[in-house]
Structures are given as structure tokens and as C-alpha cells.
Amino acid sequence: MTKRRFLSRGKKSPGSGSFHINWKLVLLAFLAFSLLCALVLGVWSLYLDKVVREKFEGKKWALPARVYSRPLELYEGLPLTPVLFEKELEALGYRSTASVTASGQMSRRAASSQEVTYEILTRGFDFWDKREEPQRFTVRIDSGRIASLMDSKGAALPLVRMEPEEIGGIYPNNIEDRVLVKLEQLPPLLGETLLAVEDKHFLEHHGVSPEAILRAMWVNTREGEVVQGGSTLTQQLVKNFYLTSEQTMARKIPEAIMSVLLEVHYTKSEILEAYINEVYLGRSGSREINGFGLAAQHYFRKPVQELNPQEIALLVGVVKGASFYNPWRNPERAKKRRNLVLGVMHQENLINDKQLKIAQASPLGLAAETDNSLINYPAFVDLVRRQLKQDYKEEDLRAEGLRIFTTIAPMVQRLAENAVATRIARLEKHYKIKELQVGMIVTSVGSGEILALIGDKNPRYPGLNRALDARRQIGSLMKPFVYLAALDQPQTYHLGTLISDDPVSIKGGDGKMWEPKNADNKSHGNMPLYRALAHSENQATVRLGMQLTVKEVIKTVKAAGYTGDIPQVPSILIGAVDMSPLEVTGIYHTLAAEGVYTPLRAIREVLNAEGQPLKRYPIELDQRFSVQSTFELQHALQAVLREGTGRSVYNSFPESLPLAGKTGTTNDQRDSWFAGFSGEHLAVVWVGKDDNAKTPLSGASGALQVWADLMRQVPTQGVNQQAPEGVSFDWIDANTGLLSAEQCEGAMWLPLHNDFKPKESAECKIKENLGEEHWWQKIF
């Protein structure tokens, strides 16, 4: 009754006496519903179609800017040691073999530890100016230089340019990284293995394989959990490229529709090419490793073209689960998976019995796992990024795949890192201090190119970049500019000119007296300019600076390349000026390059993702000081290391190597500086504490030691000893500044401006010890 009442209440037509189904209406409703569903599906498909096409046809991925080191150029006579060369080859991913048969391989034949011959087949590389094709050559290193360089036929080669090392990137926010590979660049074996393992029927299906889905459903139902996927390679691409990785039915439907749409619009090759670049293959710290191009670099440090069957098998095996089969973390599991893939390769006749046997028996052959840092040399890349920001938008740097060719020499950078890490640890232990920090820059003299840059005692730590941002008082590093200002007035000053080192008092604007003291709190009477600089005497330097005027000294520092403000006060004469190691490098480079100012450079060229040149950063020169006065100054800076504050250096350097430089120490030894150069390399080092606390280190006991550790290892050449036109050496009496002779007591062999030499001679007292040789006699 209740039911009837309920049913009767449900009737819409008051005329009908009993319940019956209006099939016509139901059919109509069903048709209407189906139509609506079809309409919704149609609209949705249209929308998905738009999504599919827009993303696939546009720029598929945000590509980070890739940063490259300088390429190593080999030529006969290049200073190079086997150890340094092999490190460079290792960083470039060259494999040592008994006989060289493919690109990226090298063989080594050692006659002794000093004489080694290498046969190398390069990979070729697209440079700014041209493509260097793969080249086979033989190079012999003997006694610290390249003794011969020959092609495969034994003919002499003038020059070989190696490919540069990729040192990092400027990444998109999601830190998704990939090296794009075109399908034709992919080894056929990799493509075939991938299809054999991941989607055997890729070439036949239309995006979705019902057969594979049914099989997977059956297996999963039987197991009670998802153990097998029925996804085609196209579906995997859709899932990774367009959708989330969530495995739900709600996601499976659009995935299937989009897969079909993708197959409708694009060819199998286009889909496969997108897949090989999209697939997730691992992680390095916060960076995602996507695509086979980058995976080959990540796991084996070689281009994808050079992968052997077992390496291909591992990469294809990792597709199933990059974390689960991480070969560094789970080597056994990864090897098992690799061998399983090798089995499939063999089954599909992609490799023969012998290849299978060799491959399955071989170790994983992984490169050393990186320290998970995105960038090898973060402090240097930081400088590159800052310089690029002047010309490019941040989003372009992160997404446009620019190729940045820089000046860093990984060989020098590695030596500098080693020098810093070892010496700072030793200083901390020796002086029982903690939290010492360091900033260091090495440049190539002449070109002004930055070869190495360190912003932290842990060089891989991308924190405060002290090389660029630690602006500290430079102390006595200022003094050479006082003396250069003097030497630039050759009619009045030469290196033998006497200056009093007696106490000096300067009355300031506020009426207070300023009385700078020497480091040893002693006065040394009259002394020649070069000796006052070599021994870093404050009193003599301040007196000289005041004779020249503070304004003139500031003018000299600015002409050397400093662009900041310098207060016009006497204390700047002995370094009451804040500068960063980069700024110090800028002004000292002018001294090292014989008076030629060159803006420091970290970038040589920028290319777009297609390899088209966008911008060059050329070498610029400007002769700011006379060659004569800078040659004289360089002589005095050599005296710093021979007989002055930096003389400890020659405990471990050969006497025949002329080096020049200046120590710097500030109040309470808060900053330890050294800026020094050879004929080819300038290195500036700051050591101190971030909180500007006192340290027990002077310039000589701190920064100079780091500098010496580096310069002992870098193949370099001495400071130029050949006097320029208008300068000649002569003997000068240390007590009078007049002409003297070799055998006279106190005679100094100094470079002098020909037009302004002293005309008178001093009284000569013949030296008692005639056999004694001064440092300048040993190098001339």
C-alpha cells in the first residue's frame, strides 16, 4: 500500500491508472545523455587536442643556460705536465684504452714520469668560430712541456683545440635538466633496446594498446596490486610531459585520449624523440636528470653516442624506476636489471652471444658520483651570472638554452681549490684558530681572463662569494700605486731615489695628529724607493705619498682600473681602502700587464641553443702607464719576494724564476692579503674572518702561503726581464742614490729611465766580500 502510494505519488500524469515504463522516453533520455556525453567528450577532446598540440609544437622544455670552461689549446711548447693533462682528460670523460678506436678515447705510453706520449681521438665540438671535427693526434709531453704534436700520419700539427668542460648551468626554477638529443644522434642500439623493453609494439599501435592494457589488468587483478603497466611509450610520454605521475583512472582517461591525439598529429619519430629527451632517469641533488643525453653524462660522463651495450642496457633498465635502480645506491639491483635488459637485447637479436657474455660480465662502469652540486665551480658561475645579467634577462638565462663560453681553466681552478683547502686547514691547525675564510682569483696576465675563482674555503659551497663580495681594507697592497705614481715622474724619482723612513706626523682637518708606524716600530733612515716598497715601510711610503699628494695617488689607483670611491685622506696611502679580491685583481692586472689596463673577463662568447653566435666579449686594452715606469715597479715588486716581506716564498721556488708581488696586512691582522704574479698568471688571495675578527696572520704567513702553494703547481713563466726601450740597468749607490759600480759597497743593480739617470757618481768603497751575488745577478 505504501509502495503503491509512493509509486502513485511519483506519477506525473494524473490520467494514468497504472505504472508503466515509457521506453521511448528512456531511449530519448539515453540518447540525449549520450549526446551530451559525446558533446562533453568532444569538447574535452578538442581542449586536450589543443593542449597536446600547443605544448608539443612550442618550445617543449625550459633549457638552462649551459656554462663551458675555456677549451684547452695544445701546441708545441705549451707548459703542461702529464698529471695536469690527465686530470683534464678525465674531467672531459676520456677513457683510457690500449688502442684508440673511437671518439673520447685515449691511450698512454710513459717513457718516464716526465715523458709521456698520448694518442687521443677527440669528439669534435661546435665553437663560436667554427666546428672542430673529431681529430686523432699524438701528443708527447716531456719535462713539463709539449714536446711534439702530430696527426695520425705523423705530420706536425700546429694546434689542437680540445672540447671545453661543461662546468654548470643556470637552471629553471624546477631544476629540471636535460641535454637535448636528436633522434639521428641516438645510437640505434639504444632506440631499439628501449622499444624492445618498454614498448615492443610501438611502431604498430596508435598510442594505446588494448592488448597490453588487458594483460596488465589481468596480472594486476590476480596480484591484487599494480605490478604491471599497460602503458605504451606514447602514454608514458603523455603522463610525464602533460600530466601528473598519479596512477588513477581519472588520469588514465585523458592519458589515453591524449596519446591517441599525439599519434594522430605526429609521427612515430617525433614522439620517440620527445620521449628520449623527456624520460626521467635520476636525480643529482636537487637537479632532475631527464633524457638519455644528460643521463649518459650523469652516469658515465660521456656523450650518448659513445655508450656501449652494457651502458645502454643500464640506462634503459633505469627507465623502470630511477630511484629504485639507482646504480650508485643499489649496485646489485641495478646490475641485475641491466643484465635482464641485456637478455632482452640478445633475445631480440640486438646483440650476439659474445657481446652478451662480455656485457653481462662487465662491471657497471659508472663515473664517480658527483657531489650533487648543480655547478662544479659555484663562485665562478656566480660571477658569470652577474656579468650575463647586464645583457640578458634572468628568464632567458634559465630557459633559452644559451651556451656560455667562459674563461675558467679547470686545470688552474682545481689547483687553486687544492691549495686553498690544504693550506687553510694547515693554518687553522698551526695557529689554533677556527673559521678562517678565503677569497682567491687567478687571471691570465695580458688577456685579463679569469682562470680560477674561489669564494669559500669549501670551494663547492655556493654561499657568500668572498672573491666578489668581501670588501676589506687592502693594507699594504696599496703601496705599489704610491711608488708607481712616483716612478711615473721619472724626472724626479727612480727606484734608487732616497726617501726618509723617519717618523712622520700629519695633522688632520680635525687638528689631530696621525703618526703611522712601521711594522717593526723602528725607523730606518734614508732608503731607496725600491727597498722601502720591498720592506713595506709605512713611514717612508706615507712621506712619499704626501710628497706626491694623496690626490695623485688616488689618480694612479683609478687609472689602474679601480672605479670605486677613495676618500682623499692620507691613511689611504697605506691601505685604508676597502676592496674585494676582484677589485684588487683588476688594479694589479694593470701592474702585471706592464701598464696596460684590461677589464677582467669571465665570458668569451654566448651562443643561442642552435649554436648561433649572440655576443662576444672581446679583449680590450688601454695603455694607462708607461711601459718604462711599470717595468721599474715590477722590479721593485720582485724585490718584495727576493729580499722583502715575501722572501719566504723562495724557500720553495727556484731562484731562476722571477716572481713579483706584494703582501698586505691590516690593523690587528684582521686581513691577510697577497697579490702576486708571474709572466703569465696573476693571483690575488685574501685570508681572514667573516666577522672581521683579529687573526694571527700577516700577509706573508697567511695569503702568501696559499699563493705560493698554487704557483708551485701551475706551469708558468717568469716575469719579463727584458727592459723596454728607454730603460737600462745600472748600478746605483744605496746610500746616495747616485751612480755606483758592481764592486762598490751598497751598489744596487736597478732599471733606470735612460733620460733621467743620475749624472753623478757616489764614492765607491770596494766591497769586502766580492764573491757574494745578489738576487738580480742570479737571474740576469
Binding site: E73, Y75, T81, D129, R145, P158, S444, G446, S447, G475, T497, L498, D502, P503, V504, S505, G508, K512, P516, K517, S523, N526, R543, M546, Q568, V569, I574, E605, P618, L621, D622, Q623, V627, T645, N651, S652, P654, L657, T665, P696, S698, A700, S701, R712, Q713, P715, T716, G718, T736, G737, L738, S740, A741, E742, E760, S761, A762, E763, C764, F780
Partner: protein, 162 residues
């Protein structure tokens, strides 16, 4: 060298003997009275004075530097090859390309005057007179006087200065 020095010593010794007998001993060039007080109108900043240097940590000798001699003539093959490539680019009117290649040569030998010549000429073609002048002046500095190359460099400089 030593022979010349010895000759000079003999000559100067003789000269000194004559001069000292004639005019007596020479005095200091710049005798300095100490202490001096210098009036200074600008404010004085906190003085930065070096403190005595503490004993330096002993340096443990490590690897001896391997190579110290001047650049051997062989490297000039590399420079010459690059100069020739740069010249080809220059003749093809690709001046930026010529500069890029010449800079590679400069990194190998920054005292090679022919490299400066091609750089100067390339910048000249690009109407960058200032850069051209700087490079040609460096070239003149390193060129051997009286050679054809030195002559060419001087001609380029003169034409730039006109």
C-alpha cells in the same frame, strides 16, 4: 754580460777617482729632515698600520715548478697558424671572426706583433679606431724595429692618427 759589467766597473772606478778628487764626495740626492710635520686639511681616516710579522709557518717544499723558460719558438707555429686563419677571415670580410681567432693567438703569445696587426686592422674595418690604435701601439712595442712588420704597424698607426 759580466765582461761588460767589469769594464763598467773599471770605468766608473776611474771616473770616481777623478771626480772625488776634483769636487769631493757627492751628497744625497734628497736629504730628508725627520720627523716632518705636514699640514693636512682633509680628515684623517683610521690609520692602517702593519704589525710585526710573526714567524712564518715553514713552507714544505712540494712539486718543483716544471717549466720556467721563455716561450720556445715552437709555439710560434701555433700563433702563425692562427694568424693565417685570422687573415683568411679578414680577407673574407668577417672581421669579428678574425678578431676571435686572433685573440686565441694572443692567449698563446701576447708578445706576437703580427697578432696585434690583424687585431688593429680588423678593428679599423669595424670603425673602432680607439681599439685599433691600442692594438697597433702594442704591436709596435713588440715588433723588432726596422722590420717590414714594424713598418706596416707604424703605417697603420699613422693612418689611424690622421
Amino acid at each position: 754580460m759580466k765582461k761588460n759589467v767589469f769594464k763598467k766597473v773599471l770605468f766608473l772606478g776611474g771616473l770616481f777617482f777623478v771626480v772625488s778628487n776634483l769636487v769631493g764626495c757627492a751628497g744625497n740626492v734628497k736629504p730628508e729632515a725627520a720627523p716632518v710635520v705636514i699640514e693636512q686639511s682633509a680628515p684623517v681616516a683610521v690609520p692602517e698600520v702593519n704589525v710585526p710579522v710573526k714567524p712564518v709557518e715553514p713552507v714544505i717544499p712540494e712539486a718543483v715548478p716544471q717549466t720556467r723558460a721563455p716561450i720556445p719558438a715552437a709555439s710560434s707555429n701555433a700563433t702563425a697558424s692562427l694568424v693565417s686563419q685570422a687573415r683568411t677571415q679578414y680577407q673574407a670580410k668577417n672581421y669579428q671572426g678574425a678578431i676571435a681567432i686572433a685573440e686565441r693567438a694572443l692567449r698563446i703569445d701576447r708578445r706576437a706583433p703580427d697578432v696585434y696587426l690583424i687585431l688593429a686592422q680588423s678593428y679599423m674595418q669595424l670603425a673602432n679606431t680607439q681599439a685599433a690604435l691600442q692594438f697597433v701601439q702594442q704591436g709596435i712595442r713588440f715588433a723588432q724595429a726596422g722590420t717590414d712588420l714594424a713598418q706596416t704597424l707604424i703605417q697603420v698607426r699613422d693612418s689611424l692618427q690622421k
